[in-house]
């Protein structure tokens, strides 16, 4: 009887081994001066097959209820993966959401996602837009069924995860893999840091102003500290969005929203959680004399950040050095044509 079990065991191990794919491992490249990523690559390694599947899913409207909206609908590669020129996110059947779709980059260093930090892991982030009625309005089981029915996806899941049966876990892991590759670290600022580019005098003046006034929240090198802050925006009474408090149910989190990265800010307009400012100048004017005081206002913003008109121009010149064209126009990130 014992030998029977061993034989059965061996056959089983053999089958599993036969179905496990040979993956082409991918290592995420980023500047050595950066902190260690938050995402655990030891548990979920990147592979060429996983990334490629994730990319196809990211661009596939099949993920939405009526197959009209893909992730890329609100996260366009050429505009730092945000919905440029739209203040609030759009969804199926011309639905309009309540928040500005965030730019996507350097996600391996994020530990909380969404403007209110509602999502605690990159893997789980995609569930939110997929299931939200004003976004993709679908449920995960329908997505699984639709993907399983196609001729192409089961093979791609087999290649990436060794199993042609589509699962929620594998959909989410694949989407993570693609999004993790969206690293932006090749702006003028990065080149200056590496000694490959010299800031102009104006950019340098702007950098000094940045370090004096902005760096406590928009910390280098990721240009965010990942925290939630109230930046003195009066509540838009058409939205009544109180941000982080809706998730934590803690009063001191009222009106706090996630500090966004400033990388590629030139391309990611409009700005703020509700997209109320169209230009960088409007944002700087807000920080100058538009701050709405309330109990949870960030300490750094009490009294505002008064800058002269010339200083605003200099600071803007620095912010434009955060544009990373190699990231924005990387063909590996664009719609997969093959």
């Amino acid at each position: 009887m014992r030998s029977k079990f061993i034989v059965v065991g061996l056959i089983w191990v053999g089958l599993v081994a036969a179905t496990l794919p040979t993956l082409i491992k991918v290592t995420l490249f980023y500047p050595s001066s950066w902190p260690k990523p938050v995402y655990d690559f030891e548990k979920s390694a990147l592979s060429k097959e996983g990334i490629s599947l994730g990319r196809k899913l990211f661009y596939d409207p099949l993920l939405s209820a009526d197959s009209t909206i893909s992730c890329s609908h609100c996260h366009l590669s050429y505009t730092a993966f945000t919905h440029v020129d739209h203040d609030l996110s759009h969804g199926i059947r011309d639905s309009i959401g309540t928040r500005n779709s965030p730019a996507l980059m350097n996600l391996a260093w994020n530990d909380k996602f969404m403007w209110d930090g509602a999502v605690n892991h990159l893997d789980m982030q995609a569930l939110a837009p997929i299931t939200h009625p004003a976004e993709m309005g679908e449920n995960l089981n329908n997505v699984i069924a639709k993907l399983q029915r196609t001729s192409s996806y089961p093979k791609l899941f087999q290649a990436a995860f060794g199993d042609s049966i589509v699962t929620g876990k594998h959909i989410l892991k694949a989407l993570s893999q693609f999004q993790l590759t969206l690293v932006s670290a090749n702006s003028k600022y990065d080149k200056m840091k590496r000694g490959e580019y010299d800031f102009t005098e104006q950019e340098q003046r702007g950098y000094q102003l940045f370090k004096a006034n902005c760096n406590s929240c928009h910390q280098e090198p990721l240009f965010t500290n990942g925290a939630f802050e109230n930046t003195g925006l009066p509540v838009d009474t058409t939205l009544n969005d109180y941000g982080r408090m809706l998730i934590t149910k803690i009063a001191s989190d009222s009106l706090r929203f996630k500090v966004p990265t400033l990388r590629n800010i030139e391309y990611s307009y409009p700005y703020m959680h509700d997209g109320r400012f169209k230009t960088i100048r409007q944002v700087l004017n807000h920080y100058g004399d538009g701050i709405f005081d309330s109990e949870t206002l960030a300490n750094e913003l009490k009294g505002g950040i008064p800058l002269t008109s010339n200083e605003k121009v200099d600071l803007t010149a620095f912010l434009l050095t955060l544009t990373d064209k190699e990231f924005l126009f990387n063909p590996e990130f664009a719609f997969p044509r093959n």
Binding site: N120, A128, T167, G168, K169, H170, L172, S176
Partner: protein, 220 residues
Amino acid sequence: MKCAFINLFIAFLSVGINAQSVQFVPSFGEQELKLDTTYLLHSGIEVKIETLRFYISNLEIYKNGAVVWKEKDSHHLLDAATPESLKFPVPIDKGDKLVFLLGTDSVTNVSGAMGGALDPSNGMYWAWNSGYINFKLEGTSSVCVTRNNGFEFHLGGYTREHATVQQIELLITGNEILVDLKAFLSQVSLAEQNKIMSPGTEAVLLSQKAASIFRFKNEK
């Protein structure tokens, strides 16, 4: 002869399996629960259960105060509508005390996408406030002034302030564990409290009540 031997073997195997497993039995009092069936909660209050799903995790067996068995990757999603989900192998003969979690621990809640019982496609995961629903109970009651008289308890939350996972310790007296929904609903005022869908203080309090309804069948 050969046939008899095989029969004996099957009988031996099934006895073995019975002794080495735990069966969760959703019940209403001592009665085995039937879904979509009207029960009298107490005088004049009728209830009907439509959905009961919950996680059991981190199973351990103790003998004389020491752990003698610990399940690896221990996560089970139990569903009153799926009988096979209610029974799984546990070497119950090994000890005198069964210890497990009702729900999923905080590490599980922050570890990203997982498969099997923990796959988010099982409908036990919140997309808009990350975390597992540890215990889901839905039904109707004449006292609920809600749409279709429905009540919905989706209990979850893993942060320190709003942790809903509960450790349950039961002295082993058999292998059938009752999950007594009458005991749960008796502790809830359904007229006032009938919809919990997010983490918070109410979910924590109700989770503690949910943990109190597990007991071995022949326990007095």
